[in-house]
């Protein structure tokens, strides 16, 4: 099994090329600023000098729900964007540069090659999201009130699952493409497709985006689970990776 040797190389690469730093910094920054923004946006609005007295009264005082809401919103936009940006070159770059051909002439199976990429991205996003969650949880504690850590952890787990869906789909796009440019185009088409279909009224119930809502309600002590979306997400990851492998296996690099 050479999977772990390849994974080791992938992780080192992420570290040396500063990819890991980017993911960690972006997610951590959103973790910290989300509660801050939730707390201060209303205050800043109120401090606008010309604000009519009545209107200022109508701005509600921020609550812990705003903090979590802000956090989930940021992750659902920038987190996903980041997942696509960080994964789109993964396979295409190695094909374009010639390193894929170089490595595949050694005992690296194409399955190892793909899975190590997915695993390394999963590790980077999991670790970064953990840092972000810690920051968000701590700031929410300081600025609002403590969040129950169990459900909050569940929220982050669900968000990670959504990221993994986008990473897997983007890896498939990166495998299909011959060049990095084509990979970027396909990846954004994939993003628009998955996110777009997910925002449709009835179908959206079954799409990964639904997990954000579930997680948010969960973190605030509510219920409303969306198991179908959960299983569909897992299925999408498996399907995208399997498709990528089938494509890659037949591809001449």
């Amino acid at each position: 099994m050479n999977f772990f040797s390849v994974l080791r190389k992938e992780l080192t690469e992420q570290w040396r090329t500063k990819r890991f730093l980017i993911v960690a910094a972006v997610l951590a920054a959103f973790g910290l600023t989300s509660p801050l923004l939730a707390k201060f946006t209303p205050e800043l609005l109120k401090s606008i000098p010309d604000m009519p007295a009545g209107l200022a009264e109508m701005i509600p005082a921020p609550t812990v729900a705003d903090a979590v809401g802000q956090y989930v919103k940021n992750m659902s936009q920038f987190g996903i964007l980041l997942a696509v940006l960080m994964s789109m070159g993964a396979v295409a770059q190695e094909k374009e540069r010639g390193t894929a051909a170089m490595m595949l002439a050694h005992p690296v199976s194409r399955l190892d090659f793909l899975m190590a990429k997915f695993a390394a991205l999963a590790v980077a996003f999991a670790v970064s999201l953990a840092v972000a969650a810690l920051g968000c949880w701590y700031y929410t504690l300081l600025l609002f009130e403590p969040l129950a850590w169990g459900p909050f952890l569940a929220l982050n787990g669900l968000m990670l699952l959504v990221f993994l869906v986008y990473i897997a789909v983007t890896l498939l796009c990166s495998t299909l493409a011959r060049t990095q440019g084509a990979a970027a185009g396909l990846a954004f088409a994939g993003l628009v497709l998955v996110a777009g279909v997910g925002s449709l009224p009835r179908v959206g119930e079954y799409f990964p985006g639904r997990l954000f809502e579930w997680g948010m309600v969960l973190a605030l002590g509510g219920g409303d689970p969306a198991w179908p979306a959960f299983w569909v997400s897992l299925g999408m990851i498996a399907a995208a990776l399997a498709a990528a492998w089938l494509v890659f296996r037949r591809q001449e690099v």
Binding site: S5, G98, M102, A105, P107
Partner: protein, 309 residues
């Protein structure tokens, strides 16, 4: 060691390989010659398992190239025409990574890495990032990478073509030193390089093997005497070359600036007539010699014949 039978590779309507046959015996350094686009790279890619033939059979060390890719990768080493590396790695890390993939123990890895870096004279650059390496250094590192698991068969695609004269000489010496250690299949379109190191030569044109034979035999059989003359000016040289082309004893006439190179069939007649023809054309000669035939002449003759068919 390498056996190719009736190998075809089609890209759409283009036939990159069109029924190639080839046999490389164990222990030889095989020079795989052909003009650009003849199918050399395609053959090497199929042998290394990176591409699949459309039809036919290719086997290395008894293993089918399309089926046993994993087992194959343990027994062959490949150096692509432009070896690619991870720019953020150092050569030491890269070789260590490859050795790890081949399942070498930690002690073996560090010894093997050190020995290989010494072999290709990259020991001092061992801790520098590959990103800043020159073409020659990358080529040498590529060779080290292909040798990391002591393969039985080494496939080298144009290993020296992109190098400067010094780099080329170093690389050829390295390849020559592998004689006896493994079977080498080396493609090239530069004949002088092949002539220097290869014991067996195969010439490929348009996806087919034109001839395959030990170098010496090939030279004896096909190398015909060559006359080389340098005229005082290019215009008269060109005039004279046109004249020579219609002579029955001239097999091929090559003109490079003011240098005329004539391959002949009938040496006796050529010796008698070649100088008078220069005089008749009022060509002033700076130099005139009966040259030792080179592999290049054989190559031109054979590939030219193939093209004419």
């Amino acid at each position: 060691m390498i056996q190719i039978e009736n190998l075809h590779k089609h890209y759409g309507s283009i036939r990159a390989l069109d029924g190639l046959d080839m046999t490389v015996e164990a222990g030889t350094i095989f020079g795989f010659l052909g003009p650009n686009g003849a199918g050399k790279t395609t053959t090497l890619r199929i042998l290394s398992g990176l591409a699949r033939g459309t039809a036919g059979r290719a086997a290395v060390a008894g293993l089918d190239a399309s089926a046993d890719r994993r087992a194959l990768s343990r027994r062959i080493g490949c150096l692509p025409e432009e070896p690619a590396f991870y720019p953020w790695m150092t050569p030491r890390e890269f070789l260590d990574y490859l050795a790890r993939l081949h399942g070498l123990s930690s002690a073996d890895r560090s010894r093997q890495t050190r020995e290989l870096l010494d072999l290709v004279s990259l020991a001092e650059a061992g801790k520098r990032r590959i990103g800043g390496f020159s073409r020659g250094m990358r080529q040498r590192l590529g060779l080290a990478a292909a040798l990391v698991h002591k393969p039985e068969v080494l496939l080298l695609d144009e290993p020296v073509s992109a190098l400067d004269p010094i780099g080329r000489k170093e690389m050829l010496t390295l390849i020559e030193d592998l004689r006896g250690q493994c079977t080498v299949l080396m493609s090239s379109h530069i004949l002088a390089d092949v002539e220097r190191v290869c014991s067996v030569v195969g010439i490929i044109a348009r996806g087919r093997m034109v001839i395959q034979s030990p170098r010496e035999e090939l030279m004896e059989r096909y190398a015909r005497p060559v006359f080389e003359a340098e005229a005082a000016d290019a215009a008269s040289a060109s005039r004279w070359a046109d004249r020579l082309r219609v002579q029955p004893w001239a097999a091929a006439v090559k003109l490079e600036n003011a240098v005329v190179r004539v391959t002949v069939n009938d040496i006796a007649r050529a010796r008698r007539e070649i100088l008078p023809s220069a005089v008749a054309q009022e060509v002033i000669l700076r130099r005139f010699e009966e040259a030792r035939p080179s592999l290049e002449d054989v190559f031109l003759q054979l590939v030219g014949k193939e093209a004419a068919q």
